[in-house]
């Protein structure tokens, strides 16, 4: 959360002073990909002992990230890595839900933290994929920049809202266990 806030504030300051802020988000991408992959790994570990899919996905992201940095440096956004990462995280979310519904044990979803965390992640990356797609389509119209920013703000609100709720669920669950 601290890293997110630092990155967002730095990015905003640089943008307001008409400087490029892509390098900030490129650096933040490492933390974002690492944290989200680790969380998925943790949630899926409840159902599977071996998770080669997560390992392969993580490896692929590292290769793509390094490749893009080598090709165009850190001051240009790593769009390919972001797109592939978004698709991968959507895939992980669908896979997690498949494992959840295939599992024999019943969980009360309304108060089940992992369900809401994955829901927030799914909605954010699904929306960001759509947003990136429109951006590609409308980039020549020069009109979409602001709308894209607004969509991201709303997606962030949805994601962090659901993540916060999932942490509350987790906290209450721990309270009950204690």
């Amino acid at each position: 959360m601290l890293l997110t806030c630092i990155s967002e504030i730095t990015g905003r300051i640089l943008r307001l002073s008409n400087k490029k802020n892509d390098w900030v988000y490129n650096l933040f991408l490492i933390a974002e990909a690492g944290f989200t992959t680790a969380m998925y790994d943790y949630f899926i570990s409840k159902y599977l002992k071996k998770r080669p899919l997560i390992l392969v996905g993580g490896g692929l992201l590292i290769i793509l990230y390094v490749y893009e940095i080598i090709i165009h440096g850190i001051f240009i956004s790593n769009d390919l890595t972001i797109t592939i990462m978004s698709i991968m995280f959507i895939g992980y979310a669908l896979y997690y839900y498949l494992l959840l519904i295939k599992d024999d044990t019943y969980v009360k979803l309304v108060k089940y933290g992992p369900f809401w965390w994955v829901a927030g992640t799914l909605l954010f990356y699904y929306g960001s994929c759509a947003s990136d797609l429109y951006f590609t389509i409308f980039k020549n119209t020069n009109l979409f920049g602001h709308k894209r920013y607004l969509i991201y703000v709303w997606l962030n609100i949805i994601q962090y809202g659901l993540w916060s709720y999932s942490f509350i669920c987790r906290y209450k669950c721990r309270e009950l266990t204690l």
């Binding site: 909605l123 759509a130 429109y134």
Partner: protein, 259 residues
């Protein structure tokens, strides 16, 4: 510009509808899973209570048989022994010897009957040795009356791993069928077939008794235990078939997945 804005918002919403529906589907599926788990628990409870009921019925049946045998058979033999011994007159050595021999014979028969009763008491544990053994024991008891000619066939290999719960239920069904034959059918011949296959076990009981109209059972015969048999077969995932015509005997066929 306004149109593009509207289009963008519309398309984003359309895109977001898909994951929202997915989440709703997961939630719905989860609710169905809860119902399924509750149904399974209820079925398990019903199964367990039915099993206890079956055990109680087998015990009750055994006690009834023992009671009847003590009264009608062993009691009579011992009374006769007592009478014979009382009538012994030692002055007439030859006659006295004859009566003592007769009393001895009656005592030996009583001992034999007592041994059979002892085996019957162990009969409840016989199921632990396997269903076919328990059935054989039940047949021995039926044959002892001398009123029925029983033919018993076993087909296929009994699985290495038994299912005592299913054995118990099948054994109780057989007892119920025997009860019906004794009470209602007036049969002389009974044919029993126990067939094991990869899919399960099949128990077939055919008698040459009076038979009845399966589709039009009189009110006084509705409590014949047929519903009980059907319920018990279904509780272990089995099927129950009955074929009968007045004057043409009855064929009862039970199939249960096994083990």
């Amino acid at each position: 510009m306004q149109r593009i804005d509207t289009l963008i918002i519309f398309l984003t919403l359309v895109f977001l509808i898909a994951p929202v529906f997915l989440l709703m589907y997961v939630n719905q599926y989860n609710k169905r899973k809860k119902r399924h788990i509750e149904e399974k628990q209820l079925m398990q409870l019903t199964f367990e209570s039915e099993l206890i009921k079956t055990q109680m019925e087998i015990r009750e049946q055994t006690m009834q048989t023992i009671g009847a045998d003590l009264h009608d058979n062993i009691g009579q033999l011992l009374s006769l022994t007592s009478l014979t011994l009382n009538s012994v007159k030692l002055e007439d050595a030859e006659k006295a010897q004859q009566k003592i021999d007769a009393a001895l014979d009656l005592t030996m028969r009583s001992i034999k009957e007592m041994r059979l009763l002892g085996k019957l008491l162990q009969g409840e544990q016989l199921i632990g040795l396997g269903l076919s053994e328990a059935i054989r024991h039940e047949i021995n008891w039926i044959e002892k009356s001398g009123q029925y000619a029983v033919n018993y066939d076993i087909e296929g290999e009994q699985p290495a791993q038994n299912n005592p719960d299913k054995d118990l239920i099948l054994f109780r069904i057989l007892q119920e069928v025997f009860n019906n034959i004794i009470k209602h059918s007036k049969a002389k011949e009974i044919s029993i077939k126990l067939a094991y296959s990869e899919l399960g076990v099949r128990l077939q009981v055919i008698d040459n008794g009076a038979g009845f109209d399966v589709t039009n059972l009189p009110d006084d015969q509705k409590g014949m235990g047929l519903l009980n048999i059907q319920k018990r077969a279904e509780i272990v995932g089995g099927r129950f078939f009955i074929q009968s015509q007045p004057g043409e005997g009855t064929c009862i066929d039970i199939f249960i997945p096994y083990p």
